[in-house]
């Protein structure tokens, strides 16, 4: 069990009672805890928040970025990116729209 802090963007804080972040206990689905594992744990305690990050097929939404520390997971291993104890996962809307 790994405790991970998830940073919540301003636009989604109504879904977590105004909190800037939430802490979830993540179980590893393999030999390491991954971003996907953290989102699975998030789906249990804050499902409305999690489905704004991933669609029902489990894919990250196109205009949502996930950062482990300062690294965008798209540049790493995506949802399979490992996340260690003490690391933070940040949900950040992409600079897009109209």
């Amino acid at each position: 069990m790994t405790e991970v802090r998830v940073r919540v963007p301003t636009a989604l804080r109504d879904l977590v009672a105004g909190s800037q972040s939430v802490v979830v206990d993540s179980n590893s689905s393999g030999d390491k805890v991954t971003v996907g594992d953290v989102l699975d744990a998030l789906a249990v305690v804050h499902p409305a928040l999690e489905r704004r990050v991933r669609d029902e097929m489990g894919r990250p939404r196109v205009h949502v970025n996930l950062f482990v520390g300062a690294d965008n997971v798209r540049d790493l291993d995506g949802l399979a990116t490992a996340i260690g104890p003490g690391a933070e996962l940040s949900i950040i809307p992409a600079v897009s729209g109209g």
């Binding site: 109504d14 499902p47 409305a48 489905r51 029902e56 894919r59 939404r61 205009h63």
Partner: protein, 377 residues
């Protein structure tokens, strides 16, 4: 999860008529407390979200509102309100999602339709990619209607310009097992067994956008269908390239030629109580898609589509190049009918005399994509 509307005005006074205005930047509402003489604009709720589907369900003891919206960042959301929009509830577990194994994710909710009058807990939803969902618990949860999802035509359906959307759901008023749905650009499908099985029903509709204008079993770009108030077997249909009617519940279609040269448009609205009466808002060509010659004109038939008369009183007749989308024109169900439409340039017009005269109810809004109205007092 319940969130309060940002507008304290929602709680300020009583309301007898409500018009929901879905835009590409959130939900607005026009509220009247004096029998539709004046409307007050409130909103936006869900600022930044595209609200393509709105619904006012008046079958229960009080009006229940639904919205289907989508954020470009955060995806689609279905919400309900039992206090006329003062607060909205989003189901924690998502009321409407494609089931595991469907290998599909919800892109947009296009249509939210109350079920039969005597089944107030039944609500239908039409979505993109094209699929029909049904709720048996007042919209708290929805299930995919498998009969349509498993139809052998589905892999061959092609999207229209707005996406592969199921945008029309009509429940037969005398037989709730009889359903009509329409998809752009697949066409009309009928079910006689409550959605277990479906038959494409586009006989008589030409396909002007294919060589030779063939009649196809499916592949039609049907934009909207409305049911006549007097005869439930009579239907009006706005197609990508023509206007049609049916006298047999949608089993066959006949072109209506009463508006010369006005083939293109998105909405069609039937008068809520008067038989043979319906409204169109034709646009100029599928290349331009604006009101023709700068004239914003609603057309009305009172003889079942044989002849049409232009309605212009109160509507801009100079330099009015506006677009009205398929769900942005509606009626409030009253008699005389209140009629309301919104434009992609952010105006909302209303009539409370069956369309004889119109007035501007709101302007400078974001592009309007859905309008629904009902008495709620």
């Amino acid at each position: 999860m319940t969130t309060a509307s940002p507008e304290s005005d929602y709680r300020r006074r009583s309301v007898d008529t409500l018009v929901l205005v879905g835009t590409t930047k959130g939900l607005f509402a026009l509220r009247s407390d004096d029998g539709r003489e004046q409307f007050e604009l409130v909103g936006p709720s869900f600022a930044g979200e595209e609200v393509y589907a709105t619904c006012i369900d008046t079958r229960g003891s009080g009006a229940r509102l639904f919205t289907g919206s989508v954020s470009n960042h955060w995806g689609p959301v279905l919400r309900r309100s039992d206090d006329l929009g003062a607060s909205w509830t989003e189901d924690e577990r998502a009321a409407l999602t494609f089931p595991a194994g469907s290998d599909t994710s919800l892109a947009r909710i296009w249509q939210l339709t109350p079920g039969p009058a005597d089944q107030p807990e039944v609500v239908y939803a039409g979505v993109e990619p094209a699929a029909l969902f049904r709720s048996h618990d007042g919209g708290a949860t929805f299930e995919l209607v498998r009969g349509l999802w498993d139809h052998p035509h589905r892999p061959k359906w092609q999207p229209g310009g707005g996406g592969l959307c199921l945008h029309t759901v009509l429940v037969h008023p005398d037989d709730p097992e009889r359903l009509l749905i329409a998809i752009s650009a697949a066409g009309v499908y009928l079910s006689d067994d409550g959605g277990e099985s479906w038959t494409a029903s586009n006989t008589g509709i030409l396909v002007p956008f294919e060589p030779g204008s063939p009649e196809l079993e499916f592949g039609q770009c049907v934009h909207k269908v409305a049911r006549d108030a007097g005869d439930p077997e009579s239907l009006y249909l706005q197609h990508h390239g023509g206007i049609y009617r049916s006298d047999n519940g949608g089993r066959a279609w006949t072109a209506m030629t009463g508006i010369a040269g006005m083939d293109f448009g998105f909405p069609v609205v039937a008068h809520p109580t008067r038989p043979g009466t319906a409204y169109l808002l034709p646009l100029e060509s599928d290349e331009y898609r604006c009101t023709p010659d700068g004239h914003c004109t609603v057309w009305r038939t009172v003889d079942g589509g044989t002849s049409w008369e232009p309605l212009t009183k109160g509507l801009p007749q100079r330099d009015a190049h506006v677009t009205v989308l398929r769900d942005a024109f509606t009626t409030d169900g009253l008699d005389p009918a209140g009629l309301y439409f919104g434009t992609r340039t952010g105006e909302v017009y209303g009539s409370i005399d069956d369309g004889d005269s119109w007035q501007l109810l709101a302007d400078h809004l974001p592009p309007v994509v859905s309008v629904r109205a009902a008495p709620v007092g």
